[in-house]
């Protein structure tokens, strides 16, 4: 399994040269969400990387409106000769690179793409040009294993680094900052919400917009061997906001020279596994609504819209059959209580006694104890 990391300066490069890392991702200031490299910086770092036998990956992970896309697409030709592969997230960048470059592509499928068909779709569309696909952090390990086995190209996963929670092109911090020096400056802040149990979200605003991260960093390094056994090809180490020297400990851990506790104790941020063991982010959904009121199929007659104690019930009929005086009814109270009613008085809104109240009309029947507004009515 390969280890990939970001290099932001020559010091980073010299530190990783003997650590077993084979690829570096370089972030240009115009193309990469958190890239800080100018044209010259990029060229110098790319050149030095090659001297160190490090493969250079050019990162183009910003999302771009048409205007911005138009501005950038020609500039990339000046930079690409120094890179050996390109990684993109915007489907537009993906499509454009397929048509206009010959570089191997990495597709960042970290945003959604939680099913095999989607992942296969990107690969098929690239017609052999996709060198690697970057999987979502939200995938549990059984899915990572399945995708590594089923997909016909190498897969990459974040091994250690910040979890990006939110990305907008709007500048949200500058309006609150007292001393904004220039547009190109990066602003950083820590956010806390009184309505969330979590405190201390790192925030960044730069020329590409505003970004919020989780308070803990993602780490599945303790499962590196398991991931390698699954067939994962690359594990990414994102240390862009951490003292880069910590990479020595990380690589020592991956070489089994120190244990995970040592790594955790050395690493400056708290770590989490995210959804690596299991993803149950849909289990709360059934609790978001009253399921007693969701069943409106089949024998559903309609809904009680008025219940006047001792007088009557008004039912909004929502079934093509309408309501007949001979119908027997089952009523489900929103709290779940069930009642059965034989109709002995059926009237319409003109208060006429009728044998049938048609669909999309209001039927008035006698009151029944316990039945209340929003109760659902079914034929028996």
């Amino acid at each position: 399994m390969k280890f990939v990391t970001y290099a932001q300066n020559l010091h980073d490069l010299s530190r990783i040269k003997n650590l077993g890392i084979t690829e570096v991702i370089l972030g240009h200031i115009d193309f990469s969400r958190f890239g800080k490299l100018s044209d010259d910086d990029f060229m110098n770092l790319a050149k030095r990387s090659k001297e160190l036998n490090l493969r250079v990956i050019f990162e183009w992970d910003i999302l771009m409106t048409e205007d911005k896309f138009h501005q950038l697409q020609n500039k990339i030709f000046d930079l690409l000769p120094q890179a050996e592969a390109l990684r993109v997230q915007d489907p537009g960048a993906f499509e454009w690179c397929l048509k206009n470059t010959n570089h191997p592509l990495h597709f960042i499928a970290e945003n959604g793409n939680h099913n095999l068909l989607a992942l296969q779709g990107w690969i098929e569309h690239a017609q052999g040009r996709l060198e690697r696909i970057v999987l979502s952090l939200e995938l549990p390990k059984n899915k990572i294993q399945e995708y590594c086995e089923q997909l016909k190209i190498p897969c990459e996963l974040l091994g250690l680094g910040r979890i990006l929670l939110f990305y907008t092109p709007r500048q949200l911090l500058a309006p609150l900052h007292d001393d904004r020096v220039s547009y190109n400056d990066e602003l950083v802040a820590i956010g806390e919400s009184e309505e969330s149990p979590h405190k201390g979200f790192p925030l960044i605003e730069n020329r590409h917009g505003t970004f919020m991260f989780h308070i803990k960093e993602f780490c599945v390094l303790e499962y590196a061997q398991e991931l390698e056994d699954y067939g994962l090809s690359s594990l990414r180490l994102d240390l862009r906001w951490t003292d880069f020297s910590v990479i020595d400990v990380i690589m020592s851990y991956l070489k089994k020279e120190v244990n995970f506790e040592d790594l955790k104790n050395t690493y400056p941020q708290d770590l989490m596994k995210g959804f690596y063991l299991t993803n149950k982010t849909d289990v709360l959904f059934p609790k978001l609504k009253n399921h007693r009121l969701q069943n409106r199929q089949g024998d559903y007659v309609g809904e009680v819209i008025e219940a006047e104690k001792g007088s009557h019930l008004a039912i909004h009929i929502k079934n093509e059959r309408g309501l007949k005086k001979s119908d027997r009814l089952r009523v489900i109270h929103p709290k779940g209580d069930e009642f059965f009613i034989n109709i002995y008085s059926l009237r319409n809104l003109a208060l006429e006694d009728v044998e049938l109240v048609p669909n999309d009309s209001v039927a008035i029947i006698q009151f029944a104890n316990g039945v209340w507004v929003k109760s659902h009515v079914f034929y028996v």
Partner: protein
């Protein structure tokens, strides 16, 4: 004058709202079944309701689009084919999808047109070309796209484009926010969004001389694009979408009415230089909303697009007091009351076309004809019949000076 006019696409969180939106002028509605959409807490449609809704809309020359725009996991995807077969049978006009796996699944099973959801954040010509190649017939563009760029995307990718013209907005690139996933264990991209962007945050810039700032800094104002209608028409945008499947009947009705009437006026006169423009804008103020912004429809959204206020602090002065269940000289006007009003109050019945009908509720009875001096929510009342009032019309009242 342009002979090209966009459709007005309204939200319908349930069957009643579908009927309201269509009757008030929407050319199309978008709805969700009980699975696969992003509004898990909404009523949504049962299969029977979907069937009835499609019939109702088609009888009135309106289209129905069904959302399947969750970022589905493998286990969800396996349930799609049966639902698609049903949608095909009832002849829905399109499905709205954000995930490539769902696009592939739908395209393999049916010829129902596929619209790519705004969740996919399609922002440029090349992205539109990708989705077209994948089988899409229309792109619901990201809210960051300007009307001018949308026109370019349509022309160069040769695909239909749909843009949001009104409603609440994600501050993040749609589909690029997972705050709820990682902080609340609810997948925002499968319908579990906890609206963390609407919370107040305390921001520490780490500067000793600068105090912490409290702000609703991630909350966006609501989109309002009425005055930009000529630009949408000029760029031949195919569909103008109103956000809000979770919103009220009054919202669905008012938005459908205002935007369809404005479009009709333009169709007839070729301009918006009308006193009606102020009246339409006034109507948009009568539904609950955050402050309005044009966001990025003309220029990229700036600092003035942030809604730095607590939710609900910008509520409208008007509220819906009821819905007309029946109206005839024989029965009078039968209202299902949603919010209480008193005998003698002035109320307005929102006509399907043209000005609202103002009446004073001098005479109110319950449905058993007993006099009522103050109505109660979740009850039915009768008012004397007034010509022009029809079933499904909405009734509102000014509640604040």
């Amino acid at each position: 004058m342009k002979d090209y006019f966009p459709e007005i696409l309204a939200p319908a969180g349930n069957l009643e709202k579908l009927k309201v939106a269509v009757l008030y002028g929407a050319n199309a509605v978008y709805v969700g079944g009980q699975k696969f959409g992003l509004r898990t807490a909404a009523d949504n449609f049962t299969l029977d309701e979907l069937r009835e809704g499609v019939l109702f809309a088609h009888e009135r020359q309106a289209k129905v689009y069904v959302v399947l725009n969750s970022f589905l996991h493998d286990k969800d995807l396996s349930e799609i084919p049966e639902f698609i077969e049903f949608l095909s049978e009832i002849k829905v006009d399109a499905v709205i999808v954000s995930d490539l796996g769902v696009v592939k699944t739908v395209a393999s099973l049916t010829s129902i047109p596929i619209h790519i959801s705004t969740q996919a954040s399609t922002l440029n010509v090349e992205a539109a070309k990708f989705w077209k190649a994948a089988g899409a017939s229309r792109i619901v563009l990201g809210r960051e796209v300007s009307v001018k760029d949308a026109g370019k995307i349509k022309r160069e990718a040769q695909i239909e484009v749909e843009m949001f013209i009104h409603g609440s907005m994600c501050m993040a690139y749609s589909g690029n926010c997972v705050i709820s996933n990682f902080t609340q264990g609810r997948d925002s991209n499968r319908g579990g969004c906890a609206h963390s962007c609407r919370f107040e945050y305390s921001l520490d810039f780490g500067i000793d001389t600068m105090e912490k700032k409290k702000a609703f800094f991630m909350s966006s104002k609501d989109l309002e694009g009425l005055r930009i209608l000529p630009e949408f028409i000029s760029e031949e945008i195919d569909s103008l979408k109103i956000e809000g499947r979770m919103k009220s009947h009054l919202y669905a009705g008012t938005m459908s009415k205002v935007y369809s009437e404005a479009l009709s006026f333009y169709r007839e006169h070729g301009h918006f230089l009308s006193e009606d423009l102020l009246s339409w804008e006034s109507e948009l103020q009568k539904v609950s909303h955050r402050s309005y912004t044009q966001a990025s429809l003309i220029n990229p959204a700036g600092a003035d697009s942030i809604f730095n206020e607590r939710e609900n602090s910008s509520d409208s002065e008007w509220q819906m007091v009821g819905k007309v269940l029946e109206a005839s000289p024989k029965t009078g006007i039968v209202l299902e009351v949603r919010n209480a009003f008193n005998q003698g109050d002035s109320i307005e019945i929102l006509s399907f076309r043209g000005k609202a009908i103002s009446i004073t509720a001098h005479e109110i009875t319950d449905i058993m004809m007993k006099p009522v001096t103050r109505t109660r929510p979740s009850t039915l009342v009768k008012l004397p019949f007034v010509s022009g009032v029809e079933k499904w019309q909405l009734v509102r009242q000014q509640v604040l000076a």
